[in-house]
Assembly symmetry: D3
């Protein structure tokens, strides 16, 4: 029995994800589901088992591109989880349906999340932002569309200054923006009614993995009693944490922190550039998803509803 055949569309998608032409949690998930759909449509497997093997191989190919992402395996889990039947045709049909359903849900999820997050905002509120998150922006956009008048404090978010993107997009929504350095956030929390941040992933014990700097912001916000809201589609829930797995923190290129010229000036030093930190649930007031808002301590049950008690790995042989 030879290697299962992976279609060109899958290979192409895999390369684009690996090379970050396709990026952003939702975009990656969408592309992966579409690639699986193409694999199913185009497969010329000759029996049910051969079809299944092909689909699993395609999924593994996609997964290998970004082994630590959360949305990618969640997408694969969804689609393969709906693959069902005894014949190639029934397997193909169910897989295609699953992929389409997943992508349709994805399309509405952010809008639904935005509508829910917007409900927490009152006219005249000031919101403090860290980094850049389309889920967070979706809340603001929904609020603005309803006519809620808001003001924004935006932390620049070193090292990559994604706060600048947030600032620009808030400006495009017509929200007045004050930009500050990260260290100044404490001072501006007094004037803020909410902190809104996104998430890279959310774990079963209620912790929020997000851009470095989130945790000290949340700790300081609690000291001032400013509520911290995390906007995160259920795509960000990491089902492997149901069984205790911890999230590995990516260390990024040090040149994001110190330019080569600066480096020469300083001399021989180590630079560390962790991409994320982990905020325990006690510093988060609510996690807003497209399925409603939750205290972080209860998100585990949403995970179980969505993924079962244990995260599956349907791309493995024999599963």
């Amino acid at each position: 029995m030879g290697e299962p055949e992976i279609r060109a569309a899958v290979e192409e998608t895999a390369v684009q994800i690996a090379e970050m032409e396709i990026r952003g949690a939702a975009t990656i998930a969408d592309a992966a589901a579409r690639a699986l759909e193409r694999q199913a449509t185009e497969s010329d497997a000759e029996g049910a088992e051969a079809f299944r093997r092909e689909m699993r191989a395609a999924a593994r190919r996609l997964l290998d591109t970004r082994p630590t992402a959360v949305s990618l395996p969640n997408s694969l889990r969804y689609v393969l989880g709906r693959m069902d039947g005894d014949s190639v045709e029934s397997l193909r049909a169910s897989t295609v349906a699953g992929a389409r359903e997943f992508r349709a849900r994805l399309e509405t999820a952010q809008d639904d999340l935005g509508a829910i997050g917007a409900n927490r905002l009152q006219d005249g509120d000031t919101v403090l932002f860290h980094c850049h998150s389309t889920d967070v922006l979706s809340c603001i956009e929904a609020a603005v569309e309803r006519g809620t008048s808001l003001e924004a404090i935006v932390k620049e978010t070193r090292p990559r200054k994604q706060g600048h993107i947030t600032a620009r997009e808030l400006r495009e929504l017509g929200v007045p923006v004050t930009l500050i350095v990260d260290g100044a956030a404490g001072r501006y929390l007094d004037e803020s009614d909410h902190v809104f941040v996104g998430a890279d992933s959310v774990t079963a014990d209620g912790a929020v993995v997000n851009k470095i700097g989130t945790r000290p912001l949340a700790v300081t916000a609690r000291e001032r009693d400013t509520p911290v809201v995390v906007a995160a589609q259920t795509l960000k829930l990491d089902p492997t944490t149901l069984s205790g797995h911890t999230v590995e923190i990516e260390m990024r290129d040090e040149r994001e922190v110190v330019g080569d010229d600066e480096r020469v000036e300083i001399g021989e030093i180590t630079v560390e550039n962790p991409a994320f930190d982990v905020t325990p649930p006690r510093y988060v007031d609510a996690i807003v998803t497209e399925r409603g808002q939750f205290p972080p301590e209860s998100i585990v049950f949403l995970m179980r509803e969505l993924f079962g008690e244990q995260s599956t790995r349907p791309w493995e042989d024999g599963s």
Copy 2:
């Protein structure tokens, strides 16, 4: 009676301070004392009262250059406070002696402070640094000279990245340095045995005014039970706060935060760039001065010892 004559040396020093050719709390204080000494030496005032008027005018000229600094008026207070006598000669002699005494004390203060701060450090300790402070560096230098082996975590300290200066100077002392962005400090507190920061000024109610970002660092350090040490010569104690005056926080040029090009990209926003924040005493474990170490809540009594119950303004007419 005409305007009291201010000597060229004073005028020149005033200009250099105003234009920041002379900068740094101790350097300014030293220059101001030297300028008063020159004024006293070169004065051709014809009577005791005229001499006094001249000296006060010279002090006011210097004070006007940086009305919110703390070391400058402390220097003037010291020197004018020692001016004593009934004749020009006795006034001149006492003023010159006062200025020299002040400058001599200044010279030893940082070394004394460094020796005390170094006593808090143990072989093998890791110290986390924010911004750049010669008082802090003096502690590390003293420790290194005794053979204490240290490691350093340095926050870059946006917007002006004075952490780079600290990193370079620590390297020159042979201390291994890990540089991080400000938002990453929380993560590195777990590995740190101490936080060492300087102070722009220290107030009678025990609060520490220091570079923006100090307070969230101190709050987060408390959450991890990492002790926070403030290294600050008594020159930084602000005696006007004994009578309830609060410290005004300087707002600096927004171009330190956003470059012109970035600005164009983002669109119409406000940028706020507060230079300092205020850390309440409950987040500080010790203030190390050249006169010993103190819990921040007791610094008021050192202030009273040094400045009396009320801060004087000996440069005012009639005082």
Copy 3:
């Protein structure tokens, strides 16, 4: 097609609720269900759709009387949610059955809650009370009936001094009462084994909306490690908060705070009289309902069990 006809019984109930002749969360809910039953029984609608329109109109009439209450829409949701069928008769029968079921559950809910709350009380315990809540009293009554010996500290609960009602009812149960002003609660927490309070409503993020003064009481109780128990029937759970809606705090008549005579004496001032405050889940140890006790962070799942993921508005046309 004309306006749907609303029966006199509904109109009468609506007026009584609006004029507060019918008051108290459970009493209002019961009256509303009964009114819907009367509407169903007496309706002479000629087709299924006409019947449905009438029922929805009746529900809206009732809802308009107290637009911010929680028990009223929960009652309407329950009854209309059980209205089912294709003919007037089947719709009428299912509606009547739903109304009766709701009212029967209501009747037992408080007793069930009381039995559960009483399980937390030990012989010899002292309980501190804020405001007046029949749910809370039900717990005490159940405990007393089992022979548990209790003592009570009762805060008077300005402005309306509902603590006096609580004190009187506790006396009727034979519980010794010490009455104190609201500001004295801190001192008496040392002698208290529990704080018991009711709720106006409970939100999806685990916050408890209750009579003004609850939050500072809960914060102070935490400082002394005295557990805070909220007794609240599931009728108080606000399903609109599942989708992020926040609770609006009613501002009441300022004459509850300052009498006209006092007012004249004081002069021109503003008086603000918010009826409720919001206690975050981190200050509440348990919420006792008729369905068991819950940490506040998990109440969201009870809400979802009872109301579904999104709160319905079955009184709206087209729903």
Copy 4:
């Protein structure tokens, strides 16, 4: 109608439990299920009702041996809960099947729990232990088997010094152990990456009942931000707490605390020796069970899944 006949195997098991020849939560639960199986197998009841009465009587006999344990009634609930049928034969078969299923689950539960707990541990971590718990040891064993290198700090855990058992078993697993007195734990938390403790029982409001000393350890761990993990099979969940029941703390023999000789030396004193204390959920980061890990605030929903909304007492007549 005479007393239902209890088989000798049940009686023997009851005696062994009472005399602590059978001890440990899981061992007791296993023995109780096996005894019920024997009762069912050997019963010569002549009708369905007589069989049921016998089974209930056997369960009560077992329950009486340790009225405050949690695993024992949970075992009885499971087995009697599966007893189903209209004839002696169907009742016997279903009971036997239930008992075997329970015992099979028990056998795998600790391994499953261990695999999940091990996922929280990283190579090089130091773990601090209190008392002795086979659930905790199972996590460490699983980690060691995967090649995770760990170090251990073990509190001796007065009065019975079960820490010595933990130390010995960790040694047998090859984990380097540092043993300390209980009061020294604070100092060693700085060097610890996790605190792992077991549980005597877990309550619906998320509190953990465990060996005396757990709560101060957890409070101090929070002060240093060291995560506290509770390893507890679902067998330890106490379903009676769903309806508000509180856990009674056993007071043990004072000779565990003071030997007779010491007693004579000290003179006339009271000795109190509470076996357990209660740690509120806010000091616990995760509860690891064989069904996954949970924030303590959400454990109530696992309880409800496993035991229903109210704990049953299937051993009572008429139930």
Copy 5:
């Protein structure tokens, strides 16, 4: 040797203090000093020792009127502490001088305190007030006189509603006032820049004894990070606490809490009406006195400066 003769002026003052015709800490202190001055002036004692005995007896007579006040013994300590000499004339002169000095200081103390407290206030600040304190009002008056624009939130301060007095006086100063019930303070702390309260007494361990309700207000203010300022003349410092004495809390008439009619309605209850509570120093940011501002933890040294290491009781025979 007969009873020392107490002059009519002393007796009259004593009666007025006892009957609360003379009330308020400063007014009582002033009257007591004046009474001692009259005693000294009018004494016809025939020898130094007789004069001293008379003065001590007069002091004791005054002291007996309000045995738990703090300003009264502080006044007596001051005046008797300055009584010095070997002859009646020198004793008389020194006593009169001491009394006048004390009263002169008293006159300026509140103004000095007000000027210092006003320095903490910025234009546009909102201040939250509890109870009524002339020291606090003095700060506000000084600020208003300088043109500082302020807004006020005033707690009514049950049971005696001294907040109404504060509200009226603030109105007279032109400050806009919002009056609230005590339980609503938490909500209004978000809008407040400072809490200002007075003190009944301040103890050596830094605790502030003040009107019941101060401590929960301070605890809640800390939760929101709103600074709490205590305005208290040094007359309020209780030197007996230097040697560990604790402050007894006066229990006042229960009719302040419940009127007779209300009482009848409620039935047989206990009413407790503690006048004061004790706020630990960790909840107070600064104590403003006429001698400057202090962190509460350092007030012990001001006490020692003013009263010596141990509080004297110069009114006792043989002292």
Copy 6:
């Protein structure tokens, strides 16, 4: 010039201290002062400088016996600090007078401290004790002598169970004692009105070094709002900490923790037995000395009063 001659009395005292025949902070200090007095009395030095050299050598001999104690150098500082004069006779006389003065002060200090500590205790109070401290017992004895009725909770204080000594001495004072294991303290704090502990030393930054287990006790007491009082004569203040020196924690014999037999049973482990821990000032409510009570944050000024700004080392040559 040969070695200065050290008298036999000094040598004998040194040996007794080294071999712990003389032990306890006050006893050691007394013996050291007495030894210096004997050295001074018996010296046959032939000139002032020789006498001084001898005295310094004697002091160094004593100091070497316990290099980390605090009371010993404080005793030597006191006595040598009073040695004054130009001749052997005047030096001898002043030294003898200094030693006697020191010893007389020592004799009264504990009684004075006890009288002050007793003032914090009210009739009916329950006090919780850790370890054994004669300073603490002195407070209780003074209270009992005044007729204050107290109850005691005593932690056994592993590893050396000094709680047994405390229990016995409290019994001898007639105080009812409940003995508990260390881990049970949390539970008994609810019933305790005060925690009283002694100190091994107190540092300039307000930290209290005391028997291992003090810090977790103080942290847990704060969680329950039970005040923590440290009873410590000024002899325990460590003046070297004024200049930043930290206190080294003694590691004691591991056989105090694990007996040889237990050790064999457990297998190859490390045992660590730190004698003390360090409690930061924020967990201590008051330090009671013979000079009054102080918040821990202000103890630095008492140190400066007693020892000057820098701790002297008068036993060094050339000092």
